[in-house]
Symmetry: C2
Subunit: 338 residues, 2 copies
DNA sequence: TCCCGTTGTCGATACGCATCGACAACGGGA
DNA sequence: TCCCGTTGTCGATGCGTATCGACAACGGGA
């Protein structure tokens, strides 16, 4: 193993000078710097992560707690992970992956053993038992999702209430006389993931504001069968020109198919708006009008906040909750604008 | 921060004794052990990862290189990651996530900085430029996928040639007079991911063995449009009773839909076999007869080999290439057995 | 009784780096 | 000419743990 001492010997300087060249924390003459850099290159020196962490109290690692256990919505998880990993690498850090089924113990482990400098938690429940544990840790924790009580932790998420309002407002503008919301599997509802309620509340508020009756179909069993049943119920309650909202990525395609199978073509005699990524919306035929989940924006904003928290020079963000504005894209499953 | 020295003081022993209690590398009297364990509990002591890594030359971390860059097949990636993370935790290690777009540099970084004890690489190309780099590292590397030349590295993967043979043999047994293979997007073919060719070779061999003419449709554009075109071509070449094989998870559902749209119902006048996970196969209606990708089995086997390589006491596996036997499940898209 | 092997514990050291205080060299102003 | 501030480098130390050698206590066999 090549150490900074080896580099120092080759460059004819002391080990501490090598360290200062790498960190830039003290001024170094151009000549010395060049010699050191040449030696680093020649020996292909790379600092030992453990030693660096021990000496500097910084691991350059971000812990990422992802929902993997059964019952977690893993659809659309990848864009989050991918974006987070990218942002973290841009800051010359790395990602340590921890699955949510470790629960609070996982958080304690990450912080207690100094495995990472900060933690990102996804899939936050409304009353998540991990929140108090996370808030008590000695390292920054950032939530992707908004619990009822964030205990002072920073949260980033899509503005789900706004997403609900946008979807319903669009349906109202298209002249629908009834809004039907096709919800989530019992499992998800039970876990009380925050966005379910937040979206529904926004949708309900908008429906009331527009004087539209609205009906919620829930729980919806996962898979084809559940979608079929949900669509049956939706069509029963939906009146002549129902506007259907599906705030559930996994259900969008099956619901669309179930409607087509019944001879109801979204975009002609009814409208369908999905809450899903653009990728999912564009994958089906006809392409689904959607309110985007914007996983990349959400992740990026979360990482910005995270690295601000890690930088002692900069002050923490004034606002704890950072909501990303969703985007509605009109495609083929909504009526043409009148 | 609580250190092992604090634990030692509370327990009235020396720091080294605490260390030996935790590692079990020297015999400790029951009385002393209990005192130390009580102190650990009382102080909620957790060893510092950096210090431990520095002293022991073991990080207890496994590097996982996942395909995230554009053009990577991220469908079905999650079960791999999930299973790997689980196995790694079972061995009291952690997972450091690295994206493939860092290329060889990512590997050098992981090993050079001693960020992890071993590396798992996914999404291996037939002539992957990372292989020689990986083989030269000082730490074990295991491949999920089989390159043309593994340079002495252990590989674990599904037995794709066998999968191809199984699919074609099934079609032959069902009395089809022609086999059509609907392939991958140009992007994937260009990247020369090993399993594409390996599956096709197996399928071709089986077709020849059964005296069946076979035709390959490739490249297939991703999404609905590509599936439509591919199905058109397949039906043109497929004769009266074509047996269609789709060794591409993402294309299974669109191809099925395109067939249905054309009034051709798989399971009645033709057969469709997908190469995909059971989850994908069961999600569509009708459920697709499939050859399973077995991501969990593959991951598990890879982790077993990995930890064997990490354990100096155990000898490395005799066989470098470990192929998992696929499983064919008959569902609704193949003709009933005659 | 004496000797030696075993068991259990301790002190000391090394791991590789970051950082602090010290200080030599140098230059500009009085 | 002398003094002092600045710049650049070095030596020493500490981070928290694992591990090695030493050794005391103990017991069994000759």
């Amino acid at each position: 193993m090549v150490t900074s001492r080896d580099v120092a010997r080759v460059a004819g300087v002391s080990q501490s000078t090598v360290s200062y060249v790498m960190s830039g924390r003290r001024s170094i003459s151009a000549k010395t710097r060049q010699r050191v850099e040449a030696a680093i290159e020649q020996l292909t020196y790379q600092p030992n992560a453990g030693a660096r962490a021990l000496a500097s109290q910084r691991t350059q690692v971000i812990g990422l707690v992802v929902p993997f256990g059964p019952g977690a919505d893993t659809t659309g998880l990848l864009p989050f992970i991918e974006t987070i990993a990218g942002c973290v690498r841009d800051e010359d850090h790395d990602v340590l992956l921890v699955t949510a089924n470790e629960g609070s113990a996982g958080l304690s482990r990450l912080a207690g053993r100094s495995l990472c400098d900060a933690i990102v938690m996804m899939d936050i429940e409304a009353d998540d038992p991990r929140i108090p544990v996370a808030a008590a840790l000695q390292i920054p924790v950032i939530l992707i999702g908004v619990p009822d009580d964030s205990a002072g932790l920073c949260c980033v998420d899509l503005d789900f209430p706004l997403a609900g309002r946008m979807a319903v407002a669009e349906l109202a503008a298209l002249g629908h006389d009834q809004v039907v919301l096709i919800g989530h599997p019992a499992e998800v509802v039970e876990r009380d993931i925050n966005f379910v309620r937040r979206f529904q509340r926004g949708a309900a508020a908008a429906a009331a504001a527009h004087g539209l009756p609205h009906h919620v179909v829930a729980p919806v069993a996962p898979g084809r069968a559940g979608a079929e049943a949900a669509v049956e119920e939706a069509l029963r309650h939906g009146g002549e020109r129902p506007g259907i909202v599906v705030p559930n990525s996994q259900a969008v395609q099956p619901v669309l198919q179930a409607l087509l199978d019944r001879g109801r073509t979204p975009g002609r005699d009814l409208s369908l708006i999905g809450l899903c990524t653009d990728t999912v919306a564009e994958a089906s035929t006809p392409a689904v009008t959607n309110v985007s989940l914007e996983p990349r924006d959400v992740s990026r904003r979360a990482m910005q906040t995270l690295f601000r928290l890690l930088d002692r020079r900069r002050e923490p963000p004034a606002e704890l909750v950072d909501l990303v504005v969703p985007r509605l894209t009109r495609r083929q499953t909504t009526l043409p604008a009148t």
